[in-house]
């Protein structure tokens, strides 16, 4: 039995009356690269934000490294590193200052901050930019800095929302290498992406979510069987088949909502 490092059970979340998650269940195991896939508005970013503590769920339970994040909202965060979809960094700090700040607020000892900071600055080829203000750096460089900051405390779980956007092919290759290295060391990578070909090659397992529900999860073989698209089908074909199928209950639900009125469905588990 593999160790579960992230576990979501019946998670619900609504924004201004719009149901973003509808009883989402998800399991991520130790030492894997896990991909969260889904069409626009499926609830990927909401799921990630709940896991990292930027959003509060309305109902359900989330466990990260055996911490119930509702019971212990801070302790578990020392085991996670996070990179958001749109990276915003303090423009007024230099690259070096930002990494020091990131390390300090995560309780990393000074020596380790220095060591890891130098390592990632060299790795991402940002040596000549270490004393430059973040303001002056390109979008790709900012993304690399955000990844370096998420790794400064050597977290067990790295959570990234669309990590490859704005990064050049060489940078993408380097990041994938980092992911593979970390997985070898027993760390976990959790990514959300629209890039299905990348997910197919990179991820050990994926979950496809649609309208706030987990439509299917597993490795490519499992998904091929589940979607019945054939054993040579690509992840893209599987994804399209499963998300198309997942639309049907929603259409039925919309019809039911019309019949019963919107209030009749609030909080109902579908």
């Amino acid at each position: 039995m593999m160790d579960r490092v992230i576990e979501l059970l019946d998670v619900w979340k609504a924004y201004d009356g719009v149901q973003a998650l509808r009883g989402l269940n998800l399991e991520v195991y130790k030492g894997e690269i896990f991909g969260l896939l889904g069409p626009n508005g499926a609830g990927k970013t909401t799921t990630i934000k709940i896991i990292v503590g930027l959003l509060k769920m309305d109902r359900g339970s989330v466990r990260v490294n055996n911490f119930d994040i509702f019971e212990e909202p801070y302790g578990y965060k020392k085991f996670i590193g996070y990179v958001p979809e749109s990276v915003s960094l303090p423009d007024y700090l230099t690259l070096e200052e930002f990494l020091i700040y990131s390390g300090k607020i995560r309780g990393v000892p000074n020596e380790q901050i220095r060591e890891r900071m130098n390592h990632y600055i060299n790795l991402f080829e940002l040596t000549d930019k270490r004393r430059a203000l973040i303001l002056s750096l390109s979008r790709g460089m900012r993304q690399k800095i955000a990844i370096a900051a998420a790794l400064i405390h050597d977290p067990d779980i790295l959570i990234l929302d669309e990590p490859f956007i704005g990064i050049d092919p060489a940078g993408q290759h380097m990041i994938k290498e980092i992911f593979n290295e970390r997985v070898k060391d027993g760390k976990t990578i959790f990514i959300s992406t629209h890039m299905l070909d990348t997910a197919e090659r990179l991820c050990n397992r994926v979950a496809i979510i649609h309208n706030g529900q987990n439509v299917a999860s597993g490795d490519l073989k499992n998904l091929q069987q589940l979607s019945e698209v054939g054993e040579n089908a690509t992840l893209e074909e599987v994804f399209l088949k499963l998300t198309e199928e997942a639309k049907e209950p929603i259409i039925e639900e919309t019809a039911e909502r019309k019949r019963r009125g919107f209030l009749g469905l609030i909080g109902r588990k579908i």
Partner: protein, 523 residues
Amino acid sequence: MSSNIILDIYKLKIKVFFGSFRASKTSLALLAIYALGFLPSVFGFSLMITSAVKQENANIDLYVENLAAVISGFISVILLLALRGCTAYEYEQSLIFTSPVTPRKFLFASLFADLTESLPFTHPIFVLFGATVYSLGIEPPSTLMMFFLIIFFIFMLLFLKISLSILNSLYKRLWLKAMMLVFVILSLLPALAGFSTGFPLRYSLLPHPSTFLSRFLINIVYSKSSQLMDIIGLLSYFIFSLALFMFVSGKNFFQHVTYIPFVSPFDTSMRVQTLKMERTIKTFSRTGMVFTLNIESKSLLGFLMKKEMLRMLRDGSLFSVAFFYIIMTVVMSFTSISGRQGAEVPIYAFFIFFISTYSLIVPLMLVSNWRFSEFENIWIPLTSCLDPRLISKALLYDFMLIASLVPAVVVLILSVIFSISPLLPLVLISSTSIVGSSTNLYLMIKFFGKKRRSTPSFLIGWASMLLSGLLLIPTYVLTILSTYLKLNDAINAFISIPLLIYSIFIMRYFLKKTGENIINIEV
């Protein structure tokens, strides 16, 4: 068809402009507080005007001069706004300028939109008009005439503003800008007569639009028949501005417009905040690079405080505070000079007044700048294992330190120059910075989360100032009493202790509340 397009553009512009108010009921409530907040001073001002008008030996010529000076002030503001050329929001560029809408239709829609958009902010003028007309018992036909005259004048100003902005954008001629500046100076020059009776230039001697309007209005108030010259004068200016407007609206100025990367002035989106801060960081970061964030800090609170200090240094917050107090020092020096020349001007009272006003604004400036800088960066500490309450503590300590330390230095210098006891001003500064920083930070963080973040900063600032002002009533009352009773330093020291204890109590309360809010922020 044509009027439909104008109406559609008008509706779009209004919806976009007031978008942030539509996004949350809180914004609307704050806007209502903001609007109502002006009423006491408007009614007070109306009473002042009424009593001046009803005076038996009223100097009508002087009133015409004063009103003309005020109207000239409005004209000058309009001309100065036109100096930057024609501006358009990004959505206007992508939606309207790429459609078959003609510049004239766009300008007509903009004209009515400008008028509507200004109403929530210029309403005190109309309230003042209504209150004054009512208390003076002016007949309805005369009231209507005055009202339409004001509207007529506002249209004239808008025609001028739009036309001159477009001319500036189209021709980009230095002489045009110079001419407008000269007109602004000439418009304001006769106002100097109010300060010196020997000044030869008077509005009544000039064929200025403000002279015609003020004379027309004051003649109505005093039930005198209007002079034909004033009517012809006003009409000529109106026809001129309308003709200019029609002329420029026939030009295709769309390619010459300067784009504003906002959706509306109240746009609080990440991109806009970043753009706004980028400029100031570029300016101030050079000086701020002398200091760096040191890894060796032992206490995390100290480290966070240093980081915020560095931000304030590099995003210009510290400079703004210092600049603010430089202005105060200059004003104080002038006040002192005029006090020595004439009658005994209570310098100490001025001193106290300026400090109490400034030290209430400074925390708001600091907290607002923090909001602009850190609006989108808050995810960084919130996804770390750091207790967010430590961030609010570090922020508050920094704000209190800056809001009290900078003015304290100024006060000490001024007290030496003017031989004034610094005790009470220092207590006043400490109290206002403690209470002001804690209430401002509390409200700003309350409006930081996903649900309320669309609330415009200026409305949050307004509510914060109001709350701080109310909580500082004990401080103000004791300070005023002490100033007028001319209490000595020993008694002042005695009353300062409960004041400071009270301020610290307020600070502790709001720090706790801020902590509760920061841990519940959703981004």
